[in-house]
Amino acid sequence: MAPLKSLQREFPIIDCNFQQFCASHGIYSVEDFLVHDLYSLVASAEQQSSSEELREGISQVISIIGSQHQPWSNGVELLGDAQKNKHVLPTGCEGIDMLLQGGLRVGHVTELVGPSPSGKTQVCLQAASNVAVKFMGVVMFLDTCNSFSPRRMACFINQHFNTPVEEVTQKGLKRVMSSILCQSVFDIFSLLDVLRQLELKLQFQVNTGDCKLRLLIIDSISSLITPILGGNGAHGHSLMIFTGFLLKKLAHEYNISVLDAPPPSAEDFLVFFRKRLRALAPAPATLLPFGSDHHPTTAPVTNHMVCGEGGILKPALGESWKSIPHVRLLLSHDRRSNSYNISILKHPVMVSGRAASFTVYG
């Protein structure tokens, strides 16, 4: 937040005298105002010789503070926004769409959790192709472990074009493939960088009125976050939660700003990513001391080994991460029937525990 000095040009009432008065109370920026008791500040301003101007200055800062938070809304407005902007995007996997009553909800951060081969990437690719083909939307695929396969993607897309004419298929494929943007990110900082750029771009696009981004996929987020967790410092967790809030903001915000301004185009946006399950040693090992509620990075992916014996699989990233996603879905793969199972771990509207199965073709 801005230092008071830099506000002087815009608001002449915040002059040298006012800044000096604030400095005598240890206030140098708008940020400092937030942690200061404004009532006692006003009271001490009353005792100064130029109390009138000081009070005016304080109320100016308060009005700046008032513009810093998100707008207020009531239930009717929220519901209107939800019905207008927060559609569902079908993933194209029948089982999942049935389970989620239509598909992934716009504005939600959906998390896919599952052991290593459980179809997480397949669901991501399928959802990307479905959204790109049927909704003409742009899909952004942030790839953290080189799991994006253009060939597999083309395979999914081709299922949508059932024409024998080779040329039409080729043309359609080209169009759809060009609307799926893939970017490799290999550490948390480049992820934050990409998300920040995306935010700026979306802000600009909302203003100009052409925004087509509908789906943001991060496959997988845990491989970026797990390396920074651990140790005694809070910085790893701080970055993790920060990333989470940035995702939630991206997902949600661009509908709110559409609500305020006249809606430019149906602009939907959704964050969707997957996460790996890691095996967890049973019993006292989990009673770890403060600050290490997650498991060390070196823990090998031994899920298939312990699974049969009753070992416990637990989603990576620990307890703090649980407050980030809106929806958590657990995936598993049944090898014998080659079908995938999915169940709801958490959903804001639906009762958790429901399950369904689906198959991935191609």
Partner: protein
């Protein structure tokens, strides 16, 4: 002050009773019904995610925004405003609207049925269907309008919301003609990690109060306390257990039980540990002291299998402050929370 003035009565018993009765509308929501809560209390709902914390807030909000009576039907609500500050940014309005609709329809249906039993001989089944059809849209919208919402993506936004809250609440109360009764914060721990690692703008002055977990908590407490003096409200706050409950998840425990069904001593130690690590406090002490009531939630090992062959988790609630010895079990259904006996 003269002695006579000092002896003089402040209010008569009648006046006091009136005041107390308005200040203490009894709250009869299933997990919160054990302790009489009144305005000015700060209730902290602690539990891992998911443990139906937000659901409890939503159900409390519904009882607050519903009117006491509407078109001759008794809804038993408070008809007051609810202020919901969403720090987790995960609130889904569809859950509130769905649950509110169900509550309105159910109340209406049951009250209609009472009427019918008085005048017998009517075709009951047909009438029930008609009641569902003419769902009261006006009532629904009036209730939804009484629900006020703001979301915050970081501590700055939260603090600036609190700083300007009094002014906003006054404006809203005047517009609606009723006061705010509940202040809800979901969840207070949302920015814990970010604040813990935050470094303020380096301006290089010693006297400066830097923004940290401690100062944020202090300011939040200070602001809410001020707000409560001017505008009496019941504060409901959720808090996630960030450090795990120190035990294995319910799934894990269940598997353990299968494993060690013969080894009972092992199981007992596990459960003891479970009790000990159940709730680890991590918020600054200034916040802890501000809390007047605390209820702990967790997911129980049991599950309730219902007709549709899917299992619904059963949640357990336990009062820690004031500490009550018994635990309640409840379930979350589409229509809301229901107790398990």
């Amino acid at each position: 002050m003269s002695i006579k003035e000092w002896i003089n009565t402040n209010e008569s018993a009648k006046e006091m009773l009136e005041r107390v009765l308005t200040e203490r509308p009894f709250l009869l929501l299933p997990p919160l019904h054990r302790v009489p809560l009144r305005v000015g209390n700060v209730v902290e709902i602690v539990g891992p995610s998911p443990s139906a914390k937000t659901e409890i807030l939503i159900q409390a909000a519904i009882s607050c925004v519903l009117p006491k009576q509407w078109n001759g039907v008794h809804y038993g609500g408070l008809e007051r405003l609810v202020m919901y500050i969403d720090l987790d940014c995960r609130f889904d309005i569809l859950r509130l609207s769905q649950s509110l609709k169900l509550r309105i329809m159910e109340t209406k249906r049951s009250s209609d049925q009472i009427d019918w039993s008085r005048e017998e001989g009517l075709c009951k089944y047909k009438e029930t269907k008609e009641t569902i059809a003419d769902f009261d849209e006006d009532l629904f919208l009036a209730c939804m309008r009484r629900f006020l919402y703001v979301c915050c993506y970081n501590s700055f936004e939260f603090l600036s919301t609190l700083k300007t809250l009094h002014y906003q609440l006054q404006k809203e109360s005047e517009a609606h003609g009723v006061a705010v009764h509940f202040l809800m914060i979901d969840s207070i721990s949302a920015f814990y990690w970010i604040d813990r690692a935050s470094t303020p703008l380096p301006l290089g002055f010693d006297k400066r109060k830097s923004l940290s977990l401690q100062t944020v908590a202090e300011t939040v407490v200070q602001e809410i306390r001020k707000l409560l003096q001017m505008q009496p409200m019941l504060v409901l706050v959720t808090k996630a257990t960030l450090f795990g409950d120190g035990s294995l998840t319910s799934n894990a425990k269940r598997t353990f039980r299968k494993w060690h069904s013969q080894d009972t001593s092992y199981l007992r130690t596990l459960q003891l540990d479970d009790q000990k690590y159940l709730h680890r406090e991590y918020m600054p002490s200034v916040w802890q002291l501000f809390i007047t009531h605390r209820i702990l939630l967790r997911v129980s090992d049991e599950e309730c299998a219902n007709a549709e062959s899917r299992s619904t988790p059963i949640y357990v609630s336990e009062w820690l402050l004031p500490s009550l010895s018994f635990v309640d079990k409840f379930m979350v259904k589409d229509a809301g929370i229901s107790m398990v006996t």
